[in-house]
Structures are given as C-alpha cells and as structure tokens.
Symmetry: C2
Subunit: 160 residues, 2 copies
DNA sequence: TGTGGTTACTTGACATATCAACTAAACTGC
DNA sequence: GCAGTTTAGTTGATATGTCAAGTAACCACA
C-alpha cells in the first residue's frame, strides 16, 4: 500500500477531489525532487544551485542578482546566500555594475559551465528513467493539466 | 508570458517531454505550496507543523516519533526539531514510552486540535479556490496521472 | 543641491532539510 | 549473561526558505 493511499485511509478520505489532487501533486513533486537531489549531490551541488547555474547558462550573459531571483521561485534574500556559496565553490563570480553601482551581476565561470556539461546527460537520463512507464501522450496531457492548474494560482500573478 | 514559458524560451526548448513534465510538476507544486504556506502562517504554524498535527489527529492516538516520520516525506532528524517547536508552542506533548524506553510518543493536545479545527474550513476553501477553474473530470485525470508518475519513482520503494 | 522616496541588495533571526555521528535501550546468539 | 547488532531518537554542521530591517546608490523635484 502506498504512503498516500495509507493516508487517505487514515484520514477517512478527502473532503474534496481538489484536496486530493493537491496532496497528490505535493507528494509526487517531493518524490521526484528527492531523485534529482541525489543526482546533484553526487556532483557537489544542490538543486537550487543547479537552478541558478542553469539560468545563467541559459541567459548566455551575466545577470543581475534580482534577475536570477525573478526566474526562480526563491525569494530575494535567499538568492544572496545561494550566490555566496556558488562563489565560494568558484562556479560563478560577482561583479559590481559600473553603470549602476547598486547592481551586482553574476557571471557563470568555466568551472560552472563544465559542471553543467557533466550533468546534462545524467539529467536527461534521469528524467526519462523516472517516466519511462508513461506514454508520450500521457506526458503531454499531464503538462497541459499542470499548466491549467497554475492558471488561477494566487502566487502566480505575473509581473507587468 | 508565464515564468515557465519564459524559461522554455530561454532554454531553447526542453530536450524531452519528460523533462518538461517534471519541471512543470515542480513549478506547480511550488506555487501551490506558497499559497498554503501563507494560510498556515496566518495561524502561526508552518506547512510541516501542520502536516504533523494532521497526522496525529488522523491517527486518533499518540504516535511514536518515527511513525510520524514514516508518514511524511521528511527525514528522521528533521522530525526531532519539528516536534521540539510544536512542543514549545504547547500543541503537542512528548512522552517516553514505559514499555520500550527508547520510544518517544507524541500526543496532540487540545490547543493543537483546536488550531486544526480552525484551519479545516479555510483549507477546504483554499483547495477549492485554487482549482475552481478545473472540472471534476480534469482533477480526477490529474490524480490518476500523478499516481502513475509516482509508480516508478526510485525514492518510492515501499517498506515491507 | 539637498531631501525624500525608490531600488538593489545584504544581513539577521528563525524554521526546515540533508547527512553523519552519537547515545541509549532492547534484542540475539553463544 | 555478556558482546555485538539493531532500533529509536537526538545532536551538529551545512544549505535553504521565510520575513523584517538595514545600507548604499540612484532619482525626482523643489
């Protein structure tokens, strides 16, 4: 019996399908997250650190710290510490902007890029492995439903 | 443009549908989590503290600390601190078991139960509100797909 | 030009997650 | 009945999340 089924039984059922869907979502995300966390740990970084590096590589240019924060679910003060640790590992570099001295830009360094390179294949492998038992059509349906789910989310108010 | 669509564009597309599905899952779960976190904070507890309280209420009896841990995604050492804080707030009580003095059981107290009671309606309201735009049929489909997703998850090896 | 508001971070306090290592109690085998 | 193992839980170090408050630089306007 799965953990979730166990809880359902224990809680004498959900009060609504909505609640069941949300709990399921949370559980699934947690389990998937665990798998990725393990992979990243083997390479000496955490999921969040990976996210930052990937955003920087994707951008193709140094980004201001707040820009990085905007592209993550993470709150601003957390970014500061995240960048601190990446810097300490020699994966990125902080630079005070000349044009606006309030702005601090972050540049991904060679060591960071090569770490990401090492992870590219394992990431794809893991993603596929986690979902080998799902058909392409099911995955597309899932994506569509998840996107719809996010539509009315109060914490998803887009910035102007 | 949503944050996710932005990233897709930035990353020049996903390498696979699997990866896209997993990233979507993570994002959606994060956003939903934020909504719940806000609600819980208004009542002075965190999501994890709520989970513990709910497990205790669901069980209907005091549970050993490891039992609580088993029913959460949380790792054992984290439970210790979690219970510490709940105890400090007077919501639960620790008791050393007589039968086996290694075991520490946790009992939910009146204050904990009444806090949960206060949250019951708001929780249902929020769950429904987050998903008002989804049809019952879509929610059921989502649940089914998420359950299937978890089936081959390496971190979901059931305990014997 | 100088004063007040905004912006971009940073810092500090605290909750939580992780792993590794530790303690204490119970069990197991000889 | 004692040594070795297992089990239950705690502790400590580090990473990250939260909010509130602080700092430094820029901007707008009298």
């Amino acid at each position: 019996m799965s953990q979730l089924q166990f809880e359902i039984k224990q809680n004498k059922g959900f009060t609504s399908t909505a609640e069941e869907a949300l709990l399921n979502l949370q559980r699934t995300a947690d389990h998937i997250q665990i798998a990725y966390t393990r992979l990243f740990r083997e390479h000496g970084i955490t999921s969040q650190q990976y996210n930052v590096l990937r955003i920087l590589r994707g951008a193709g240019e140094p980004l201001p710290i707040l820009e990085v924060g905007d592209r993550m679910v993470t709150v601003v003060p957390a970014i500061t510490g995240l960048i601190d640790r990446l810097e300490k590992q020699g994966l990125v570099r902080r630079t005070r902007s000349e044009a606006d001295r309030r702005v601090v830009t972050v540049t991904i360094l060679g060591k960071g890029l090569s770490l990401l390179g090492d992870l590219d294949k394992p990431i794809v492998t893991l993603s596929k492995q986690l979902l080998t038992h799902m058909e392409e059509k099911e995955l597309k349906k899932t994506i569509q439903l998840l996107e719809k789910m996010r539509q009315h989310c109060p914490s998803c108010q887009e910035k102007p």
